[in-house]
């Protein structure tokens, strides 16, 4: 089975790559792409918090049959619920930021944040 440390490391490394992009990129859309990467990484981290080695997907089906206190086979469903919320919130934030970026381009004629300072 796959260990949780593996997923934690992936999430952190992905988050750090995204953060590096946020800190160094100059293009607005590039910054937003970097943010999307960090958001994905945070979601990965949150799901990993609920990951149990050898657990099953938290859905009661015909093949699983029954669940009780002595045969808990599920991974933790609560972080998954949180991530479901976080993904949708991320989409809302991204869409709004992109519209703001479009309007910035219409106003300044550039997407480079260092070139915006001088104008208007």
């Amino acid at each position: 089975m796959i260990s949780a440390i593996f997923f934690y490391s992936t999430a952190f490394v992905l988050f750090l790559i995204g953060l590096f992009g946020v800190l160094t990129r100059k293009n607005v859309i590039k910054i937003l792409v970097s943010f999307s990467i960090t958001e994905t990484a945070v979601n990965l981290f949150l799901v990993t918090v609920g990951y149990i080695e050898g657990g099953k997907a938290p859905i009661l089906t015909n093949t699983i049959g029954s669940i009780g206190i002595h045969n808990l086979k599920f991974v933790d469903p609560l972080p998954q619920a949180l991530v479901l919320t976080a993904i949708v919130i991320g989409l809302g934030t991204t869409a709004l930021s992109l519209v703001i970026a479009i309007k910035l381009y219409k106003n300044y004629g550039t997407l480079n944040i260092t070139k915006m300072d001088g104008k208007i």
Binding site: L19, L60, Q80, L96
Partner: protein, 275 residues
């Protein structure tokens, strides 16, 4: 000059990022003799509150907590519970087979109301701010693309509806279902060159769906004395007509999210000439 600036900037950012990474891993692997640490490899559901969500014995757990006090927190698994069998267990306090759905819509339904509001407000922001952006010319789609998108659209719509109607039984639910519906409209927007999305109708649908969600909550408040309380019998686990208001709310969410995301995509594609 430009290059050195870039290199120093990257170097500073890299140092910051590496420091943060070391910090992360240090937080993850603390020695446990000083206090509780986050379990990495041996997570146990019995130490977490979601144990009661999975076993659907939250009401028992709150009675147990009121009776035993602090002892509950050290021993969550001693709360009386029952075995839940697929297709057999009846009239549980919460009746959906998909545990994630039961948390998203029922146990933590208030979060979902907020989440729907986040999406609503961001789409309102898009329609408000997009004014003055004009659509650019697209390449005219070929006959195959036009016919294919017309042919596929009803099936995609049907699939989206399927996903959110079965949200309490199978993976999926209102949000992915709505997203699938929106991708159907996206296909129409891309595939047919003179297709115009009806923003006004989708606005009405969206508003009414949102109002229905809050009204379901208010009915719970007035009949069961608590906002978003379940007022419909929960039925048998695993049947389509089960889980009480969960399936109802997920249908409403699916319609709302579908309308919202389609509006957002259409506005972003077409722009809005009148400011």
């Amino acid at each position: 000059m430009k290059k050195t600036e870039f290199i120093t900037g990257s170097f500073i950012a890299l140092t910051l990022v590496v420091l943060l990474g070391i910090f992360f891993f240090q937080a993850l692997f603390q020695p446990s003799y000083e206090g509780k640490v986050m379990p990495v490899d041996n997570v146990n559901l019995k130490n977490r509150v979601s144990l009661h969500y999975v076993l659907k014995n939250v009401n028992n757990a709150s009675k147990y907590l009121a009776m035993h006090g602090m002892r509950y927190f050290n021993n969550r698994s001693s709360v009386p519970s029952q075995t839940i069998t697929y297709g057999k267990s009846k009239n549980l306090e919460e009746g959906s087979a998909n545990e994630v759905t039961s948390i998203v819509v029922n146990y933590r339904g208030f979060d979902t109301l907020g989440e729907v509001t986040v999406l609503f407000i961001s789409i309102i922001g898009i329609t408000m701010l997009i004014g003055g952006v004009v659509e650019k010319k697209w390449i005219k789609p070929s006959l195959i693309v036009r016919t294919g998108s017309k042919f596929l659209f009803p099936f995609i719509l049907l699939f989206g509806v399927y996903i959110f109607i079965h949200g309490h039984l199978t993976p999926g639910g209102g949000f992915p279902g709505g997203a699938v519906i929106a991708s159907g409209f996206l296909l129409l927007l891309l595939g047919l060159e003179n297709y115009r999305f009806n923003t006004k109708a989708s606005k009405v649908i969206e508003s009414l769906a949102g109002l229905t969600f809050v009204c379901i909550g208010l009915i719970g408040l007035f009949t069961k004395n608590s906002f978003l309380a379940n007022f419909i019998p929960t039925g048998t686990v695993g049947l389509l007509y089960s889980a009480g208001m969960v399936s109802l709310i997920y249908v409403v969410i699916g319609i709302k999210v579908g309308a919202e995301l389609s509006t957002g995509v259409a506005e972003l594609k077409e722009g809005n000439k009148n400011d």
